[in-house]
Structures are given as structure tokens and as C-alpha cells.
């Protein structure tokens, strides 16, 4: 029997059970190593800059100072930073809207206010409570996020959110931002520009406003501008009756 014949013979002998064994072992091996690599990567990032509950990132929007142009600039900056808003096939309410311009009129006095509405990063987020797969989650520093790898697209979080803050991706997407993977069939919302905040920067929408109509910072830090301003002025949470303790606060409404 020459070598070639032996090989053929061995091939035949490689029965299904062995095939499954080998495949399973290989898969398990690759999976273990791959997850190891991933974990190490995350661990490195985390150890450099630990996210703790000693901070709580928040935002204060002063509707008396915020102009309509400011709001448009905020929306543009958010779209530019995160790459949403270029959906072509989605119509009207199907398009993503991480941040919206809201114009309200007081029914008694007819006073009109404009404000920017986005994820309010609740301390008790209903979206996180209802998410069946833990895809909706809150970081220790209060930022509410969607893990795009765990999201199954059930949209229960969108049913639960009192602020209409979440969007479902209704179509295939191209040309995404490297730091913000988005995917057809998953839910997304304002991340408070977590990728910038973790580098010590401010969210894109805050940077887009020249005045101090929007202040970003650590709500807990008594030296922070947001903390000091909130101590001085009247401010409100939207749907404060729900007791969700939002991280985005408004004054002037």
C-alpha cells in the first residue's frame, strides 16, 4: 500500500464521531483563546480608566439660553459624531433620532420653550429593567447604553422608555463610525458620547453649543460646574413623577 492509498484509507476511517470530536475540540479551543484575547483587551482598557459609581455623568440644559440654532447644531454634531441620520430607505418615524428638537407651549400662558431631548440616562432606567437579554445596561457612572451584540431587536425597551429616546434601525447601514457600530434590527440611542467622555472629552452636542446653555459634567463632584449650577438654580427632570432620577436636567421649563 503506498502513501496515497493509506491516506484514502484513513479518510474513510475518519468516521462521523471522530469528525464531531475534532471539530468540537477545535471550536472550543479557538473560542477559548479568542474570548481570552477579547477579555484581555477589555481588561486593559478598564484598568487604565476604571468606570466607577463615584461619578455620575449628567447634563444641564438651560432652555432660556438655548436657541433653536443651538439645538440644530447639537443635532448636527450628534449625527456627525455617531453617524446616524443618513438612512435612505426609512421614512419619517422610521428614521433614527438620537436627539430631537422639541418645541412646547404652555397651555395656560402660551409661553413657548425649545429644548433638546435625548436619552435621559435615568438612574432607574425602565429600558434596562425590561430588556430580556441584558443588552440595555447602565454603566457604573450612570451612562445608559445598548450592547449591540446582545440586542435581539425585541423593541421592549422602546415600549418602556418614557422619553421616546430610542430608535430601531430599520434598514441595512453602510459607512459607520469606527467607535459606534450600528446594525439593522437592533436598537440604539444617545450614548452620552461615552467614547469621548472616557477620554476626558465632552459629548459632541455639548461641544457644539458656544454658550453655557448646556453644561456637562459629574453630578456628584461638588467642584464641577454642573454640580454648582444645579445647587444654585431651579431645575427639573422630565416626567419627574416617574421617579427615574434622570441625569439630564432642564432649567427654564
Amino acid at each position: 500500500m503506498n502513501k496515497r492509498q493509506t491516506a484514502v484509507q484513513m479518510d474513510k476511517n475518519l468516521n462521523r464521531r471522530e469528525f464531531i470530536k475534532t471539530t468540537a475540540a477545535t471550536t472550543a479551543g479557538v473560542a477559548t483563546i479568542a474570548s481570552g484575547i477579547t477579555l484581555t483587551t477589555y481588561a486593559n482598557v478598564a484598568s487604565e480608566n476604571p468606570v466607577t459609581n463615584e461619578k455620575r455623568w449628567g447634563m444641564l440644559i438651560d432652555t432660556n439660553k438655548l436657541t433653536e440654532t443651538d439645538i440644530d447644531d447639537m443635532i448636527d454634531a450628534c449625527q456627525e459624531e455617531q453617524g446616524w441620520g443618513s438612512e435612505i430607505l426609512s421614512t419619517g418615524d422610521q428614521k433614527s433620532g438620537w436627539i430631537k428638537k422639541i418645541k412646547v407651549k404652555d397651555t395656560a400662558t402660551d409661553r413657548i420653550s425649545n429644548l433638546a431631548l435625548m436619552c435621559q440616562h435615568c438612574e432607574e432606567p425602565p429600558c434596562v429593567d425590561v430588556c430580556p437579554t441584558n443588552a440595555s445596561m447602565k454603566r457604573e457612572d450612570g451612562i445608559v447604553l445598548v450592547d449591540k451584540h446582545l440586542c435581539i431587536g425585541c423593541r421592549y425597551c422602546m415600549m418602556a422608555c418614557p422619553y421616546d429616546a430610542r430608535s430601531f434601525v430599520h434598514e441595512e447601514l453602510t459607512d459607520q463610525r469606527e467607535h459606534m457600530p450600528r446594525g439593522k434590527g437592533t436598537v440604539e440611542s444617545c450614548t452620552m458620547c461615552v467614547h469621548k467622555v472616557d477620554k476626558g472629552e465632552q459629548p459632541a452636542c455639548v461641544e457644539a453649543v458656544d454658550s453655557d446653555a448646556v453644561i456637562f459634567g459629574d453630578l456628584y463632584d461638588s467642584n464641577s460646574k454642573i454640580n454648582q449650577t444645579l445647587k444654585k438654580i431651579q431645575s427639573a427632570q422630565i416626567r419627574a413623577d416617574l421617579n427615574l432620577n434622570t441625569a439630564v436636567r432642564y432649567s427654564g421649563i
Partner: protein, 400 residues
């Protein structure tokens, strides 16, 4: 009671194959619709970021709610010891399983990422009613499976009451869970009412029984087996009671909401000036799905007439689908109260529009087809149906 003999249906007639072919066509259409929607993304549906759950959810929740209700017949026999219902227990379990399978199929195939079902099965957030429901639905399959085994296997018959009680308890929890999906949503004016949980339980009684009666009458008619009035009239009366109970809960739900100033807007929307939703409520849910069936079931002219019972059951099913449409779509269409005391002029305005598309409808109907085809096949392969349900077989006191 005489000994009940169960027998498979023959399943060789032209009618059988025509039924299978017809249902098969619906299922193929549903799968085609799913491929279309998943391939393109949900932008090809009528759903949006305002109406996040559309027509598929209406069908899915209808089927899931009806599934737990279809089990009632078996529960009445085992838990409440009404012997006359006992011959129907096997079919009751089967219809429950089939409806749940159909409903879950629709629910899963409407996910944004149905390919990630494995995540839903492995990653649980125990604060989520949805996650609980996943466990409750899977458990329902297991419990009914065991229940059926106890009923089929003679030496296991003695355990069927115990497992029957477990199944009954499980199904009550399950429908409570389904109702709580909406009842615990604080954000929306139409939901956030704990009464929705018991209301869903009562709805399940009515929808499930209506579906069960249709299956029972059709299968006995098409297999030319005797089906006596003793059983049918009891089921008919029971159905009437359940429909009346649903209407009672609907009344209390709306009265409760009307009393609260914060909910008067949404009540006005559903009951008075909500356009399609108001029409669906009064003409569809209340008149066609409630008052007409009650009249058919109880008026002397139509009482005891099988065609009228069939019609009443069909109307109850239709009314049930309409009711879930109003709850699910109407409840989302009405805007959330973001700024009490203020009117929103821009950014989040007014009633959300929703026009269901054909693929969504086909997916929903496909769920019903899956349920019916499962029943049709399984009664052919396993002895679910007693060969006779004539009056003297089921009722020892029956006077000829």
C-alpha cells in the same frame, strides 16, 4: 360514564390534503414575508420608532393568550373534577400547545435579529417580564407535554390530576405575565394598569375556548364522528360567560382610566375621537366581538344552533384580534405625556400613524396556520380525539 375510546383520524381524504395544502400555502407565504422583512429591514413594514410593535405582535399575543385559554377544558376536568369534560382533555392540551407554537413563531420571526434567538435563551435579565415570559412559555411546553403523556399512558393516569393542577397554575402565571408586559409599562398612558394582567387571563378564557370549539366541531364534522349536545351546549354556555367576563373587565379598565385626569386623553382617543381605533373599539371589539356573540349564544332563536355557535366563536376570535390591535397599536399611537400641562408643537407630535403591510399580515396569519396544521397532523398520528362524544357516551345521566 362509559369508557372513552380515543382514535386517530384517518387523514387520507381529499379534504385532509386540501386543508394541509391550504395551510401549507399560508405558512410558505409567512416564511416568504419573513425573508422579505428581515432581508430589507423593518423599513418595508408599517412599523416605526413610534409604533414599534405592529400587526405581527397583535397575532402573536392573540395566539399566546388563546393558547393558555385553550388549556382550560383540560383544567376543568382535572382541577375542578368535572368528568364530562374529561374526554376533551387531550385535545385541549394539544390545541394549547399548537396555539403557543404558532404565537411564538410569529413573535420570534418579528424580532429585529431572529438569528439571535440563542441569546434570548441563554442571557436572562430577571427584572424583565419578557425574560420571565420566555421561561414561562418554554415551561408551558414542557408541562403540557408531560400532562399529555400522563393522559395518554394508562399507568400514568393517576398523576394526571396533580400535573393538571400544576399546568393550570402555570398557565395562570403565564397569562398574568403576558398581561404584565403592558400592565407594568409606566411610560404609556394606555398601559400602566395592573388590571391588564387579570384582564388578559379572562381574555385567554374566551379566545382559547372559542378556538377550541371551532377545532372540536370541525374535526368531528369532517371525520363524521358523533358529537352530542351535552358537550356542545355546555361549552357554548361557558363561552358566553367568558365573553361577558371580558366585557366586564374592559368596562372596569376604561372606567378606572376615565376617573384619572392624566388618562382622560387616551380614553377620549380610544372611546370617542380616535378615528380607526374608536371604530374598531365600538364596532369590532364591543359589537362584533362581544354583543353579537352573546346574542347568538343566548337568544332563544339561535341557542343550540351549531352554525351560530361556530359563527359566535369566529366573531369572538376576530373581536379578540381587534381588541389586541387596539391595546397594542392604539396604545402606542397615542403619544406619551412628556410635558403635562404643555402642548408639544414640534419634535414629538400627535397620534402616530400606522398602516399594516401585507407581509406583516401574512406573518400573523402564518402563525394561525402553524397552529392549525400542527393540530391537523397530530390528531392523525396520535389518538387525541374520542371516537364518539355522543350524549350517552359522555353523560351517564343522559335521557334518550
Amino acid at each position: 360514564m362509559s369508557i372513552i375510546r380515543y382514535e386517530q383520524t384517518q387523514g387520507k381524504s381529499l379534504g385532509f390534503y386540501a386543508l394541509i395544502a391550504g395551510l401549507g400555502a399560508f405558512i410558505l407565504a409567512a416564511l416568504g414575508a419573513v425573508y422579505f422583512m428581515e432581508h430589507n429591514g423593518h423599513h418595508v413594514t408599517g412599523m416605526s420608532n413610534r409604533i414599534v410593535w405592529g400587526l405581527p405582535h397583535v397575532f402573536a399575543l392573540f395566539l399566546i393568550v388563546a393558547a393558555s385559554g385553550a388549556l382550560n377544558i383540560a383544567s376543568i376536568a382535572s382541577v375542578f373534577n368535572k368528568k364530562v369534560y374529561k374526554p376533551l382533555s387531550r385535545l385541549s392540551g394539544l390545541v394549547a400547545l399548537a396555539l403557543l407554537a404558532g404565537g411564538l413563531m410569529v413573535l420570534v420571526l418579528d424580532l429585529g435579529r431572529p438569528d439571535r434567538l440563542i441569546i434570548a435563551m441563554t442571557e436572562y435579565n430577571f427584572n424583565s417580564i419578557f425574560a420571565w415570559n420566555i421561561i414561562l412559555y418554554n415551561g408551558f411546553f414542557v408541562i403540557i407535554g408531560v400532562y399529555l403523556w400522563m393522559m395518554f399512558e394508562r399507568r400514568m393516569n393517576k398523576y394526571s390530576r396533580t400535573i393538571g393542577i400544576a399546568a393550570f397554575t402555570w398557565r395562570l402565571i403565564l397569562t398574568t405575565g403576558t398581561g404584565s408586559i403592558f400592565g407594568f409599562l409606566v411610560a404609556r398612558q394606555a398601559y400602566d394598569a395592573v388590571i391588564m394582567a387579570p384582564m388578559f387571563v379572562i381574555m385567554s378564557f374566551a379566545f382559547g375556548l372559542a378556538f377550541f370549539i371551532l377545532v372540536l366541531m370541525a374535526s368531528y364534522k369532517w371525520t363524521a364522528r358523533p358529537l352530542g349536545n351535552a358537550i356542545v351546549n355546555r361549552l357554548s354556555n361557558l363561552l358566553g360567560v367568558f365573553v361577558a367576563a371580558v366585557m366586564y373587565f374592559v368596562t372596569v379598565y376604561h372606567l378606572g382610566n376615565l376617573y384619572l385626569a392624566e388618562n382622560s386623553g387616551v380614553e377620549n382617543f380610544i372611546l370617542v375621537d380616535g378615528g380607526i381605533y374608536t371604530k374598531l373599539f365600538w364596532y369590532g371589539q364591543i359589537i362584533l366581538g362581544g354583543l353579537v356573540p352573546l346574542a347568538l349564544l343566548y337568544s332563544p332563536a339561535t341557542k343550540g344552533n351549531r352554525t351560530m355557535l361556530g359563527l359566535a366563536s369566529a366573531l369572538i376570535i376576530l373581536g379578540g384580534i381587534v381588541q389586541l390591535y387596539i391595546i397594542i397599536i392604539g396604545g402606542q399611537a397615542y403619544p406619551m405625556e412628556l410635558f403635562p400641562g404643555k402642548e408639544i408643537l414640534e419634535g414629538y407630535v400627535g397620534i402616530a400613524a400606522y398602516t399594516p403591510t401585507l407581509p406583516e399580515l401574512m406573518l400573523g396569519l402564518g402563525g394561525i396556520a402553524v397552529a392549525v396544521i400542527a393540530i391537523t397532523y397530530l390528531v392523525k398520528f396520535l389518538p387525541f380525539l374520542p371516537e364518539s362524544l355522543a350524549d350517552d357516551v359522555v353523560d351517564p345521566h343522559h335521557k334518550k
